[in-house]
C-alpha cells in the first residue's frame, strides 16, 4: 500500500490522470448540510459562520470526503448581476427558510427577460435589469446593501472558508462558478423560447453566447481570486456548471454548445485556473466531441463531472485525457440502501479507477433528503475498494 496522502494530493493526482494512494471520494454535499445540521437555508446563504459550523457537523455525520463544496452560489446570489445564473437582481430566485414540506429548496421562477438579443449586446445588462418581467430586487435593496454584498461580503465569506480549509485540512471543491451561456440564455429566455431561437435565429444565439463569455469567465475568476486561488487549496478550481439545455442533439451540441464551452475552458486554463465541468444530463452521445476538451492545454487542468452519462463509456473515450467524476444516482441515495450504494460504487471503481483519473462522487449533488447512511456508504466504498 502506498503512503497515505493528503486529500489535496490525492485529488491532484486524479486530476493528473495518475493513481493516488486510493480513489478520491467527493460527494457534492450542498443542501444536505444545513438540513442535517439543523440550520435554515436562509442562514446558509447569509451567515458564513453558521454554514461552516454546519459543514463540520454534517461532514461527521456523512463520513467526510476529500473536498467540500463552499456553496459559491451564495456569492452569486447576493451579487449584482447575471452571476452564473444565480443573481437576484434580475432573476426571480426564491429562498425559503424551511425545507419541504413547509418550504422548499431555492427555486428559479422562469420568465422571459431578454426580448431582443441585439439590445442586450448593445446596452449590456440594462435591458435585463429594467425588463418588465425582471425580479427587480435591486429596487427593493439599498445601494449600501448592494455595495456591501458585491464588494465586502465576498471577503468575509472567503476568510471564513480559508479558516475552514486550514483547520480541517480539506480542500474546496471550487473557488468560483461559471455558467455556460446557453444555460444563462435558458434562464433569461426560457427553454421554449430558446429552442425556438436555436431553430429560427441561430446566428443571434451564437452571437449572444459569445457576448456572455467574457463577462461570465471574468466574474468566475474574480470570485476564485477572492476565495484565495493559488493560496487556498481548491480555490483555483472554476466550477463550470451544467450542460446547457437538456436533450441537445449532437448537431445542436456541436454547433451551439461546444465552441463556447471550449473557448471558456481555454480562457480559464490559460489564465492559471483549473476547470471542473459540472455537466448534467446524459452526455454519452457527445463524448466524441468532448474528448477534445483538453486539446492544446497542459495536463491536469480539467475534470468532467457527469450525471447520467455512461461512466464506463466515458472512461473508454476520455480516460487518457480528462479526469472523470461521478455518479451515484440521486434516487439511490434517497430511496436505496447502503448495500445498493456499496455495489454501485464498487462497480464504478472497477470500471473507472484503473490507471487513475477518477473521483468517486454523486450525480449532480447529494439530495438534501438522502439517507445519511447511504452517503457514508460512498465514502466507505472508496476505503473498501479504492486502494491502488
Amino acid at each position: 500500500m502506498k503512503e497515505r496522502l493528503s486529500c489535496y494530493e490525492r485529488l491532484e493526482l486524479a486530476w493528473n490522470l495518475q493513481e493516488a494512494d486510493r480513489v478520491p471520494v467527493a460527494p457534492v454535499n450542498c443542501y444536505i448540510i444545513p438540513y442535517l445540521a439543523g440550520i435554515s437555508i436562509r442562514d446558509m446563504f447569509y451567515d458564513p459562520d453558521k454554514l461552516i459550523a454546519a459543514t463540520i457537523k454534517a461532514r461527521e455525520m456523512l463520513g467526510g470526503g476529500d473536498n467540500i463544496d463552499p456553496n459559491i452560489t451564495t456569492l452569486n446570489h447576493l451579487s449584482m448581476f447575471g452571476r452564473a445564473g444565480w443573481d437576484q437582481a434580475t432573476l426571480d430566485w426564491r429562498i425559503w427558510d424551511d425545507f419541504p414540506p413547509k418550504g422548499n429548496l431555492p427555486s428559479l421562477f422562469e420568465k422571459a427577460l431578454i426580448e431582443d438579443y441585439d439590445d442586450v449586446m448593445e446596452r449590456g445588462f440594462a435591458p435585463l435589469l429594467y425588463s418588465k418581467n425582471g425580479a427587480q430586487a435591486i429596487f427593493t435593496r439599498s445601494i449600501d446593501e448592494f455595495l456591501y454584498y458585491e464588494f465586502e461580503y465576498p471577503k468575509v465569506y472567503a476568510a471564513a472558508w480559508r479558516r475552514f480549509v486550514e483547520e480541517q485540512e480539506v480542500p474546496l471543491l471550487m473557488g468560483g462558478r461559471a455558467c455556460h451561456p446557453l444555460d444563462m440564455l435558458q434562464y433569461y429566455r426560457g427553454i421554449a423560447n430558446l429552442t425556438q431561437d436555436i431553430f429560427e435565429q441561430p446566428e443571434k444565439v451564437k452571437a449572444m453566447c459569445d457576448w456572455l463569455v467574457e463577462y461570465e469567465t471574468t466574474m468566475a475568476m474574480r470570485d476564485a481570486m477572492i476565495m484565495g486561488a493559488g493560496e487556498v487549496p481548491g480555490a483555483e478550481v472554476i466550477f463550470f456548471v451544467n450542460g446547457g439545455p437538456p436533450g441537445m442533439s449532437p448537431r445542436i451540441f456541436d454547433e451551439f454548445y461546444w465552441p463556447t464551452a471550449k473557448k471558456m475552458i481555454d480562457i480559464f486554463v490559460t489564465r492559471g485556473f483549473k476547470v471542473h465541468c459540472h455537466w448534467d444530463n446524459d452526455l454519452t452521445p457527445h463524448l466524441e466531441t468532448i474528448k477534445h476538451m483538453a486539446d492544446g492545454l497542459p495536463k491536469g487542468k480539467l475534470l468532467l463531472d457527469l450525471e447520467k452519462t455512461d461512466m464506463k463509456r466515458a472512461k473508454e473515450v476520455l480516460g487518457d485525457r480528462i479526469c472523470i467524476f461521478g455518479n451515484v444516482p440521486s434516487a439511490m441515495l434517497v430511496y436505496g440502501t447502503p448495500e445498493e450504494v456499496d455495489a454501485y460504487c464498487r462497480k464504478l471503481i472497477e470500471e473507472c479507477a484503473p490507471g487513475g483519473g477518477f473521483i468517486l462522487s454523486t450525480e449532480c449533488e447529494t439530495p438534501w433528503d438522502s439517507r445519511p447512511e447511504n452517503v457514508r456508504a460512498i465514502v466507505q466504498a472508496a476505503e473498501k475498494y479504492g486502494w491502488y
Partner: protein, 212 residues
C-alpha cells in the same frame, strides 16, 4: 405521409406553414390537415425513440405543430363549430416542486395529439388535484416530479385521490427525472417514466383501449 407531414418530420416550419396554407386555399378539410400534421409529429416521435432526435427536436416539433393548428383553428370552427377533443387530461407538478419544463413538454404533446389538457401549474397541493378531478372528470391525471422530495408528494397526492374515492375513475401517470428511477411500488400509479414520448404513447394507448 404527404408534403405537410414530411415537412414536420424534418422540422421545416416554413414548409409546414406553406403546406397548411396551400391546403386551406385548396379547400381541404382542416381536420384532415391536422391529422396529416399529426402523422408528422408521430414520425418525429419515432425518430426520438430511435435516438436520432432529442428532446429539443421534440419540443420544436410541438411548437411547429401548434403554429400549424393556430392557422387551422378558425377554419375548423367555421366548418365544425369547435374542434373535437380526444379526452381530458389533468396535469400538474406536485407540491414542493416548481419545475415545469417536463410538464410543459408533455402538456404540449398531449394538446398536439388532440387532448384537452387542464394544466394546474407547479407546486400543486394534493387537494387541488382532487378538486380538478371532480370538476373536469379526466380519464388521466399526470403528475410531474423532478426533485427527490417530490416522490413523497406523489405518494400524498395518490393517497388524497384514493381517500376522495376517485382512484378507480382515473389512470395515474407520473413523469420526471427522479420518479422513473425509483421502485414502481413506491409510487402506486399506473405508469411512471422519465421519457415524455413514452408517456404520450401510454396515454394514447389507454384512451385507444377504452374507446375500442
Amino acid at each position: 405521409m404527404g408534403k405537410l407531414s414530411d415537412a414536420l418530420a424534418v422540422l421545416d416550419k416554413p414548409a409546414v406553414l406553406a403546406a397548411v396554407q396551400e391546403g386551406i386555399e385548396a379547400g381541404t378539410d382542416p381536420l384532415q390537415l391536422v391529422e396529416e400534421a399529426r402523422l408528422g409529429l408521430e414520425a418525429v416521435g419515432r425518430e426520438f425513440d430511435k435516438g436520432n432526435y432529442f428532446l429539443m427536436e421534440l419540443l420544436r416539433a410541438a411548437q411547429i405543430f401548434k403554429d400549424a393548428v393556430a392557422l387551422l383553428t378558425p377554419k375548423i370552427k367555421e366548418r365544425y363549430g369547435s374542434a373535437a377533443s380526444r379526452g381530458t387530461v389533468v396535469i400538474g407538478t406536485v407540491a414542493g416542486d416548481v419545475h415545469d419544463l417536463g410538464k410543459n413538454i408533455v402538456r404540449d404533446l398531449l394538446q398536439c395529439n388532440g387532448f384537452e389538457v387542464i394544466d394546474l401549474g407547479v407546486d400543486v397541493p394534493a387537494a387541488r388535484f382532487v378538486e380538478a378531478i371532480r370538476q373536469h372528470r379526466p380519464k388521466v391525471v399526470g403528475m410531474s416530479a423532478l426533485l427527490s422530495a417530490a416522490v413523497t408528494q406523489v405518494g400524498r397526492t395518490v393517497e388524497a385521490i384514493e381517500e376522495a374515492g376517485l382512484r378507480d375513475q382515473v389512470r395515474l401517470i407520473v413523469g420526471g427525472g427522479i420518479v422513473g428511477e425509483v421502485k414502481r411500488n413506491m409510487l402506486r400509479v399506473d405508469h411512471a417514466t422519465t421519457n415524455a414520448n413514452e408517456g404520450i404513447s401510454v396515454i394514447l394507448d389507454w384512451f385507444g383501449r377504452e374507446q375500442a
